[in-house]
């Protein structure tokens, strides 16, 4: 597991040779706070029954979404799972559009047609959130194939969980990307659990992605997924490799979800103390302390916190005021002609 490595230099200030830099660090902090607060708001709105259906939150896993998004270029493509709010927001999709979708409002990203598990915003490079485990791994390969075919420089990034490494599509997709040296980065967010069952119960190795990388001729990459700097640096390397035509990377990020698997899950199956232990390694706490150690003044962080809080509050108000989706869209976009007719 990669060590948490704050940049060398005299403590109390950003070193002159810092590879991340002040602006990026503040962006990483801001993104993580945004994701945390947006997910927390989604959770609160569920409790108030203002959001129906299901939801899968990334509370505790923010460093991965933030670190990846901060390393991506405009035009790079994200392929997310049902646990996709954070990855969608991290690419710059407005909070209002995400919350609106969760609330089934007309201002939602897909006007309520897709819901929480299918957030998609092509203009932000979010090529979809997929709710059938593993489906998007070969799909991301296809998008990367198009880039290779066309000589385009974009990279496709595919996010999935530990449990997803046991489905055929994972092995088929990773092998396919490896043999064609496709510009795709596979990011396995190992949060220790599938739905309610620990990943450790169903694999013969310790690390579900990293320990299998060699089977596809890929480097074993296992990192601290709660440290946004580590994620960011690892992603930069993977992107450079992909853009240089040297093929895919498979990155396993160790992390932990603070909430249950989904709205329905109180997560009673976790051993006592496990959550508390991981909260000591809360990615936002880690990052705030990092910034402090570099002498970023408290006010800088407080200003970001306040800005985010206002964004979330304004988005919530806007969604609550937005009309529910008009039912005339029930029959649109089934086919490319915009309608649903299959017979005359």
């Amino acid at each position: 597991m990669a060590k948490v490595t704050p940049p060398a230099g005299k403590s109390g200030a950003l070193p002159p040779n810092d590879d991340i830099g002040e602006a990026k660090r503040l962006e990483l902090y801001r993104l993580q706070v945004l994701l945390r607060e947006a997910e927390q708001r989604a959770f609160d709105l569920f409790l108030q029954n203002q959001i129906k259906g299901t939801s899968h939150l990334s509370l505790g896993q923010e460093a991965i979404a933030a670190g990846c998004a901060a390393a991506m270029q405009p035009g790079d493509l994200s392929f997310c799972t049902y646990r996709g709010h954070a990855h969608t927001l991290a690419r710059g999709v407005p909070v209002e559009k995400v919350l609106g979708e969760l609330m089934g409002r007309d201002n939602g990203l897909m006007r309520g047609k897709g819901g929480s598990m299918h957030l998609t915003s092509v203009e932000h490079g979010v090529m979809g959130s997929y709710a059938i485990i593993g489906a998007h791994i070969p799909i991301a390969c296809g998008a990367a194939w198009r880039a290779q075919y066309k000589g385009a420089s974009d990279v496709s990034v595919c996010f999935f969980g530990d449990g997803t490494t046991n489905i055929g599509a994972f092995h088929e997709g990773i092998n396919y990307a490896a043999i064609h040296k496709l510009p795709v980065v596979f990011v396995c967010e190992n949060n220790l659990y599938m739905e309610y069952t620990p990943i450790a119960d169903v694999i013969p190795v310790k690390y579900p992605a990293a320990d299998r990388a060699s089977a596809y001729g890929l480097e074993r990459i296992l990192i601290d997924g709660n440290d946004a700097d580590v994620v960011y640096r690892t992603m930069l390397k993977a992107f450079a490799k992909a853009r240089a035509g040297e093929g895919p990377s498979l990155i396993e990020c160790l992390t932990y979800r603070h909430s249950g698997h989904s709205r329905a899950d109180p997560a009673k199956y976790r051993p006592e103390g496990e959550l508390e232990k991981w909260k000591q390694r809360d990615p936002i706490k880690i990052y705030r302390e990092r910034l402090k150690s570099f002498d970023f003044p408290d006010e800088t962080m407080a200003a970001i916190d306040a800005e985010i809080k206002k964004i979330i509050d304004d988005a919530t108000t806007a969604c609550q005021a937005a009309p529910t989706t008009s039912t005339d869209i029930l029959f649109t976009d089934v086919y490319a002609d915009g309608g649903w007719a299959w017979r005359n």
Binding site: G53, I167, D201
Partner: protein, 326 residues
């Protein structure tokens, strides 16, 4: 006699069969320690242990493939595919392997297993977690298809499915898991291929399945109370084998046929039933058979959109009234 939920009925049925026959084993994702994501299999691990109640990886092909190999060689596996929609990722077993083995091997190899899954809408889960998939599975000769609407039928039909020598798709409905019904004590065993007349009537026949059954009963009650229309409601329960006798008998009595189907319209089970009625009982009909279905669209997530898509009590009542008045 006890009041039981549909979800508790699942666990009771599996326990009943596991107690009766040590060859019955049960596997699926999150089914053992967690008791299932729909909490329909709580307590089975404690009762029967990890050798017979197995948490699997997220590997639907391995689940169904292993179930088949075990079934071919003497076990009686019950496999859970959590959401019915996920059947698509292991469709080979359902389309090519289970149903064709007996035929291709000239009767040498059978596949006595049950695949349970939770399907259907009403939960605002969107297009990939809400589907009714009867029409994905009833087209394969060799495969049986059952879908209960009440706790007592869950037990009786699941027991019958486990004891059946053919592969059986057992389609539970997610929106029914919390519903309750009276269930007698002791062993319960029903018969596949039998429909149930839930409400006798003389003016029209409704055929329904799964969550459409309680909605159809409610619609029939309203038609009676508000409009004096006397509707017979038949819970089809088993699509393969199909109780054609019961269906044709009801149509002969009422002269009007309505199917209420949650699946999208094209190739829904009602299409097959209507074609049978047209072939075999055309002159019993006093009007066109009418199919009330979800339109041919993927299901939307937002609540008001989903409610508009799936047949509601209002839509059933309005369609039947309009048609009988015509």
């Amino acid at each position: 006699m006890a009041e039981l939920t549909y979800r508790d009925a699942v666990a009771r049925a599996i326990a009943q069969e596991m107690t009766r026959d040590e060859n019955v084993v049960f596997l699926g994702e999150d089914v053992a320690k967690a008791g299932g994501v729909f909490k329909a299999t709580v307590g089975l691990l404690d009762k029967f242990g990890p050798k017979r109640v197995i948490d699997t990886p997220i590997s639907e092909q391995a689940i169904l493939g292993a179930a088949m190999g075990a079934a071919m060689t003497g076990l009686r596996p019950i496999a859970e595919i959590m959401f019915a929609d996920f059947i698509a990722v292991c469709y080979d077993y359902i389309a090519n392997e289970f149903p064709k083995t007996r035929y291709m091997t000239n009767g040498q190899v059978g596949c006595p297993l049950v695949v349970r899954c939770g399907g259907g809408g009403g939960s605002r889960f969107g297009a990939q977690h809400s589907q009714c998939i009867e029409n994905w599975v009833m087209q394969f000769p060799g495969l049986k298809v059952v879908s209960p609407s009440s706790p007592i039928d869950v037990i009786g039909l699941l027991a019958a499915a486990v004891r059946d020598d053919d592969p059986v798709m057992f389609l539970e409905h997610k929106s029914l898991y919390a519903t309750k019904g009276e269930v007698p004590d002791g062993e319960i065993l029903d018969r596949l291929g039998t429909a149930k007349i839930l409400r006798a009537g003389s003016d029209a026949t409704i055929l329904a399945l799964g969550m459409m059954v309680p909605r159809s009963v409610a619609a029939a009650e309203r038609l009676q109370a508000e409009y004096g229309v006397n509707v017979e409601v038949v819970d089809v329960r088993s699509l393969v084998p199909l109780d054609t006798q019961c269906i044709l008998g009801s149509v002969a009595k009422t002269g009007r046929l309505f199917t209420v189907e949650e699946n999208p319209r094209v190739l829904g089970w009602g299409a097959e039933v209507v074609s049978i009625v047209a072939d075999e009982a055309f002159y019993d009909l006093d009007g066109p058979p009418i199919r009330i279905t979800t339109p041919n669209i993927p299901l939307p997530a937002a609540d008001q959109l989903e409610d508009m898509a799936i047949p509601s009590v209002d839509r059933i009542v309005a369609t039947i009234r309009k048609s009988l008045a015509a």
